[in-house]
Amino acid sequence: MIDNPKTGMSLIVKTVTRLTVGLILLFGIYIVLHGHLSPGGGFAGGVIIALSFVHLMLAFGKDVAVSKISKNLASNLESVGALMFLSIALIGYLGGSFFMNVLEKGKHFKLFSAGTILLSNVAISLKVGVGLFAIFLALVILERSSKEK
């Protein structure tokens, strides 16, 4: 992350952001993956992942954040997340009805238990996180273009 002194915030904010932005993303992924064992789940983890990208954009300016995830990639990833959730629902037809939980349910308190709930959490977090970042990107691009006029 190159430091351009004209865009973004001051030097103190940029230094602290370099240290914390990876930790916030990792914490969000942890909350998503342990959604069936401890409080959290797909929605809270997805919003935390979106917050890490918004943090990067607020501290460094628009260009650094767009180089990580551009607007087209954000739209495509969000659609992939929604389609993944729908396909998990349709796989349930193998078990008898819509949304049936067909994968095996392991022992309690283990990470790979609870059937399709783990995959559903990952799909929902992808959809919610990237969608909320796309909203913020649309807001910032409009600000920039109306200032240039």
Binding site: G35, A89, N101, K105, S113
Partner: protein, 174 residues
């Protein structure tokens, strides 16, 4: 007891958020209401909701501040102010009077009638294999509602990307 204090704090912060003239101060007051709500969820033993409410409140504050930071105008009071305020206060008082009589029919606070939830609590952990029962309810017993919520979020993102488009396009053939 703590819940009463939190609710009175939320009412005061809500009145400040509506009445203050400066837009940035009212956005900060709405943030205070949201954080007090997160504390209330923790007291009511709902940790999933507390985590979700906290992070959603932070994102909502960022979006609100971006909208109001350079766009602020002073307002003046126009005519018919007395009649409008009196009419809305009478409406709110009538609503509260009828709501008070309707609230007497609910069971007392702290003793819910859990008919469906009793089944979820007893059989939920064995039927789904998940230890977190709220996740088991939203992703296994009631997964159709989660599909509906994913659709609502998708529609909202498409709507925002369509509204906030860069104005002006290149003319064809010039």
């Amino acid at each position: 007891m703590e819940l009463h204090i939190l609710l009175i704090f939320m009412i005061f912060a809500g009145i400040i958020a509506i009445e203050v003239r400066d837009l940035l101060s009212s956005v900060v007051a709405v943030g205070a209401v949201g954080f007090a709500l997160c504390l209330a969820f923790l007291i009511l033993k709902a940790p999933d909701l507390a985590i979700t409410q906290l992070v959603v409140e932070i994102l909502c504050l960022i979006i609100l501040i971006r909208a109001t930071i350079n766009r602020d105008l002073p307002l003046t009071i126009e005519g018919r102010w007395v009649f409008n305020t009196l009419a809305s206060i009478v409406f709110v008082a009538a609503f509260l009077f009828f709501a008070f009589h309707a609230l007497k029919e609910l069971p007392a606070f702290g003793e819910p009638i859990m008919e469906v939830a009793k089944k979820y609590l007893e059989e939920g952990a064995d039927k789904t294999g998940a230890v977190n029962l709220v996740t088991a309810v939203i992703l296994d017993f009631r997964a159709y509602d989660t599909l509906g919520e994913a659709t609502v979020l998708f529609t909202s993102v498409i709507g925002i990307m369509a509204i906030l488009r860069r104005p002006g396009r290149k003319k064809v053939g010039s």
